[in-house]
């Protein structure tokens, strides 16, 4: 019975990715990727466009055919029923599909799907979890509003709430700040960081903004042409040399109080 988990959300799980390779047709997009995220850690996958960041997340979730192994707390996900996997891993895609005419509360309630029979109505425990999550994310006043009438930042919070209602042990976020301005991006990342610290959740995200990645994640993995070319603390991975080699970028890296910030530099004439 999972009902007890309503009161005490379980902490984060260790995620291990071993020798993961994936292709689109005949094109290899991921080549023997090896990653480990400690319980309660936040690993951000960075890399230039087309380096395979999203495919890596989708492979870990089992949406994309791949070779290699993904282990959650030592348990391989291969052959694990989808419902069981959905109790470990929650996923927020880069561009979530927001169904029309559905209220915020109904949308967040979808997160309870792996915890109840598919065809039956939400039970008391489901409604309780949903109410708790919505309170934490400040969505209470928006509960009965259709999703479509929410602002971009509010919608992103609703997507996070749905993922949290799954009571997962790992949060997989594909570009959680993709459509947000700087202020809203920081709000969402602050929120994810707070949830991670309070619940001990493991977070695995892609982030294309290197400065935000450097500030929020405690480890970075730099993906280039389908391979992990650097992994470690943000200051170790974000170096001018690495940015030049893998992004073809000219940038300085400035040390900040919470991690390195990347400063693009215009070429001298």
């Amino acid at each position: 019975m999972n009902d007890t988990t309503a009161q005490a959300p379980p902490g984060g799980a260790r995620v291990e990715v071993v020798g993961l390779s994936a292709s689109y047709g005949r094109t290899r997009v991921l080549e023997s990727v090896r990653l480990t995220v400690e319980p309660g850690g936040w690993l951000a996958i960075i890399g230039p466009n087309g380096s395979g960041k999203s495919t890596l997340l989708r492979s870990i979730l089992g949406f994309h055919p791949h070779q290699g192994l993904v282990r959650i707390d030592g348990v391989p996900t291969t052959g694990m029923p989808r419902r069981d996997r959905a109790r470990y891993l929650a996923y927020a895609p880069q561009t979530p599909v927001l169904p029309e005419g559905v209220t915020t509360r109904d949308y967040v309630t979808l997160g309870r799907t792996p915890h109840r029979p598919l065809l039956s109505a939400p039970r008391g425990v489901d409604r309780q979890v949903v109410a708790d999550v919505m309170d934490r994310l400040g969505l209470r006043p928006l509960a009965e509003r259709p999703l479509a009438t929410l602002s971009g930042g509010e919608q992103q919070r609703a997507v996070l709430a749905r993922a949290l209602a799954q009571q997962p042990r790992v949060l997989l976020l594909d570009e959680p700040t993709a459509s947000l301005d700087l202020g809203h991006a920081q709000q969402v990342l602050d929120l994810v960081d707070r949830l991670r610290r309070q619940d001990g959740l493991t977070v695995l995200s892609t982030l294309h903004d290197l400065t935000l990645a450097g500030q929020y994640a405690d480890r970075l993995a730099l993906l280039s042409e389908g391979r992990v070319v650097a992994e470690g603390a943000p200051a170790e991975v974000l170096t001018p040399a690495a940015l030049h080699t893998h992004y073809g970028a000219r940038a300085e890296v400035v040390a900040g109080p919470h991690g390195p910030a990347v400063l693009p530099v215009r070429a001298a004439d």
Binding site: R82, A86, P96, D106, L110, T113, L118, T149, S151, E154
Partner: protein, 361 residues
């Protein structure tokens, strides 16, 4: 703080209309359906006195318990009620319910508000089946059942089956591929139907009448014929409401929530096609119900399928009973094809919905 600022703005911005309570809507739609059914049996070429109709119906219902009521209809009127009106009205309700629920399910599965139950070749397949037997084996029967409904039923299922097979072979479980496969199959079957029809122009009138939809020859045997297929199919669809809500967030996210989108889609398509095929078998091709009614339901209870499907079922049944009533009355004693009525009533209504929806935005 930006977060609090965002909050207050949202709280003051409560302009969005509050959804009506789903329970009330279901009750209202149920009452409207009962009213439509009663109007359907009262009104016609031979008007029946409403009070006596109700008494006769109650008398029949209580008959097994040995109770009898006086004040019912006399012999002729009773025969009109029990042998002509009642099966026809019930059949209209069944067909309307089946088409509307299937339409709502198709729209959910394809995440497309333009989807209707005829999308995957059910209509074209049924049309070909019916045309073939009207042209080549007109007066065959199988037991108590005419052969046209059976041919239409099989034709509809074959049409959807071809579309599913082609779509799956071409693109796995992607909805766009499936839709395109449906278009290809429907076009081919429609062409074959036209070919058969043109070779047998003497049957043109009957084929044409069937294609436009008709309930004029409704008998109890039709009700008996569709019920075993229609009722379970509708039940499956009603149970799938919550699953369709999960599917509405997209395949990846549905998978992340532990659902198998491909399997679920197949189940819903099969059930909806079964309902559509049985409806089409006894009524021909009645358009617009499957397209419009789900939109009305969404306007009443919001976008959640667990509410849209039951409301569609009730509204669809009532809508078609009323459409059939209009078809009988307008040109009496002649009858309009019911498909003409649904389009005549449905199209302006649909336009109105679009108009209101656009202005609300």
């Amino acid at each position: 703080m930006t977060a609090t600022a965002g909050h207050t703005r949202s709280e003051t911005d409560q302009a969005a209309p509050r959804r009506r309570r789903p329970g009330l809507v279901v009750a209202g739609a149920g009452l409207a359906l009962v009213a439509a059914l009663l109007a359907g049996v009262w009104v016609g070429a031979l008007p029946l006195p409403p009070g006596a109709v109700v008494v006769t119906l109650l008398d029949r219902l209580l008959d097994p318990f040995g109770l009898h009521l006086s004040g019912g209809l006399d012999g002729t009127h009773e025969a009109v009620l029990l042998q002509l009106r009642l099966p026809r009205v019930l059949l209209a309700a069944l067909v309307g319910a089946g088409l509307a629920v299937s339409g709502a399910a198709y729209q959910g599965v394809f995440r497309n508000p333009l989807a209707d139950p005829y999308l995957l070749g059910a209509a074209a397949g049924a049309g070909l089946g019916a045309t073939l037997v009207i042209a080549y084996a007109p007066s065959q029967t199988l037991g108590p059942f005419g052969i046209v409904p059976l041919a239409a039923f099989v034709g509809a299922l074959v049409g959807v089956g071809c579309a599913l097979a082609l779509g799956t072979a071409a693109g796995g479980s992607h909805t766009a591929t499936l839709l395109l496969a449906g278009v290809a199959v429907a076009a081919f079957l429609a062409a074959a139907q036209t070919l058969v029809q043109q070779q047998n122009t003497e049957d043109l009138r009957e084929v044409y009448g069937w294609l436009l939809g008709q309930l004029g020859r409704a008998q109890w045997s039709d009700v008996v014929l569709v019920l075993p297929y229609l009722a379970p199919a509708c039940l499956v669809l009603l149970f799938c409401g919550r699953a369709l809500d999960v599917l509405a967030v997209g395949d990846d996210e549905a998978s992340a929530l532990g659902v198998h989108p491909g399997r679920l889609r197949l189940l819903v398509i099969l059930a909806a096609s079964m309902a559509t095929a049985s409806a089409v078998a006894v009524s021909g091709l009645i358009g617009f119900v499957g397209l419009v009614v789900p939109h009305i339901a969404r306007r009443l209870v919001g976008g959640s399928h667990s509410r849209v499907l039951p409301v569609s079922l009730l509204v669809g049944a009532g809508f078609l009973v009323l459409a059939d009533l209009i078809a009988r009355v307008v040109l009496a004693p002649a009858e309009l094809p019911i498909g003409v009525v649904t389009a005549f009533v449905g199209a302006p209504f649909f336009a109105g919905l679009l108009w209101v929806g656009a202005r609300r935005r």
